[in-house]
Symmetry: D5
Subunit: 96 residues, 10 copies
């Protein structure tokens, strides 16, 4: 089941840079593990902004929520979620 | 080059249904030709709305604009475009 | 899986009242069938508005979308969908 | 009488974590007491956000306000309230 | 129990003026009956707009909704409802 | 002359609580003096929010502005003002 | 007493042009009478829009409302009203 | 003097196509005359929308307003105007 | 040439009051010099807010920008600018 | 390929002024190098605001993103990006 997720990142300026770098590194590792698992199917950077558009492929709302809440950057992000469905006109069976 | 495009469709109620069906059929054919060509890489239906989120893979803004303006449903749509880039953390080389 | 759905109904004034009444009757019948099936778990009227807040219990985004698109009043509604999860503090196992 | 309440939680980053944990624990205890009493009828987590949608069953606006103002997390929340009524089409007498 | 209600009136230009006048007359009669009953406690015109701010004194959300839905001008109004409580600092016991 | 005033209070978390309490006490005393004078005709708490809706009865915009600027909580409030008039349908001569 | 009034004019396309011209002529005559009386102290066109910013000098909200409701173009306008006061730093006694 | 102007075009669907084509042709001719004169310095199409971003080089607000009001498509456009200045860091003397 | 400027002032609470008073005094002196010169033609306080509506009479966008950027309070203000023109119906020749 | 970019700058008040000046100097140097290269084709100051409207001429979304992310002021800016195309009516071949 697919979800469209927009993440806008706002890291406060007064966080020590090492702390920020560590959180970002944890975020990247966590993200790549999910990408390999297929849960985090797509991620694109929004040009000009510290934001991304992602497509998650999960079994349930609950799973999506747990994945997002576990993001090391979660406390510093505004997240918008939209439930997606396969488009009836799409030629791809599951739109990979 | 990838673009995130949201399309919200509002077909006026007073359009004869045959006309509406013909336009939708033309739209589907046109869409599928672009999907096969790879230009229209992804399309998903927004759950609960006559809207879709699409990802276009084009050579330029100009090409994107021409593709969108040629949509049979274009006169009945509100369209928002966002330029995307490959995310630096993504494991996929081109995020297919 | 639960979804929060807000529906704002705008029936154009120039629709013949018999047509409007028939559509509303079809809507009520369709709604009650879904309520009995448990798919449409909750519905409440927003005080002062021709709007409702509903909670759907479905297997997937796709099922939700099909249920909503099949609403006789769908063409006359603005719909907003939010994916919900069980709240970690809730005492109810599945929050019935 | 039912009220739809949306709560968005924003705990400042500079609050000592023990303090934050204590407040959250108080919040959970207070919430569960109200859930058991039936006042706080439903609570769902909004997927991807530190927010919830709740349905309160209270005798008056005043009671609702007192319950909400007494939330330990109240100072850190943005709250939106909507008055609900039983939907005329609902099969459930009181929509439990 | 008090509710703050804002009503913005938009009567379509293509309604025959006699019809519009009749609806407005019905609205005035209905309003004055509620004002006399105390249900419609206050009404003020918003300067420069075909809008009013009203304070309703009702027993429940349900009663408020029925009163508002019965307004002859209801189909031509956008209505916003806010639940009010007595202010703790007010000297007036019930704020008449 | 009546004015509708909405006040949303945001007291910064880092103000010492004694200071906050003193300001609130001053605010209450100042408010009650204006309520007794009839200037501050109505005040209601917005259910679920640290906000109020008030109706002021003043001689001029200037007087309203001076009254509001003198509120001890003024620096911590967002205020919206709307000019009101007596509603032509109201049975109350001056809508007391 | 001064009020800032923004007027955005939207004359429906399907109004016969003679009717529109007559209404505009009435509007101009009515406006100029108020300008001469000093009630309508200032009027400026917003560059690029069929809108104006006006400053009214009236005795009360009621008078402002009557003047605005009597505008021949009133049914085709969206109007926003803001109460103004003399600025404490202004050198002009009454800011003419 | 430079002004940033956004124009969103909404031509009603019920306008006869010949009329629409004639208006568009007049618009193009008028535009090109202004482009040649240097008044209309830049125009770009917003990708995916029937909108443009333009930069006007005029002597005054008045001149800008007259140019815009004279656009054959003016009645069918929403226009936003922003006053621009030369950027202090720009290497181009007048940013041609 | 006239510009409508709205200024909303937000002085951070943690600025020492003497500093704030000095900046305000500088602002008043600077303002009065511009008022005397005719550049700052009108200023009104928005009732209930630390905001003003001003009308500037300047030779160009550039001059307006320099005047506004030189305001001692500029760093603490949100400013919105609208280009104005003389209204065609105005009786005053110079109400430019 | 052209992009319309709006940049709103918000430098926190608590940054040491030397640091702020250094960042601004770096920004100016970086900007001028891009202006000379033709990448940063246009930049205009928005009158009355610490904001600019810029037109970038780049090969891809990716290049635009890299250029923007490398701005020394990037952490202190809100940026909005719009993809532009050549307008079909423009007389300039590439709209220089």
């Amino acid at each position: 089941m697919l979800f469209h997720v927009r993440m806008d990142v706002h890291i406060p300026k007064d966080i020590p840079s090492e702390t920020a770098e560590r959180i970002k590194a944890d975020e990247k590792a966590y993200f790549q593990s999910l990408q390999q698992s297929g849960k985090w199917r797509h991620i694109w950077r929004v040009a000009g902004q510290y934001s991304n558009i992602s497509i998650f492929d999960v079994e349930s709302n609950e799973e999506l929520h747990q994945l997002l809440m576990s993001l090391p950057l979660f406390p510093y992000m505004h997240i918008e979620v939209m439930a997606l469905c396969r488009h009836p006109s799409s030629l791809h069976a599951d739109d990979r």
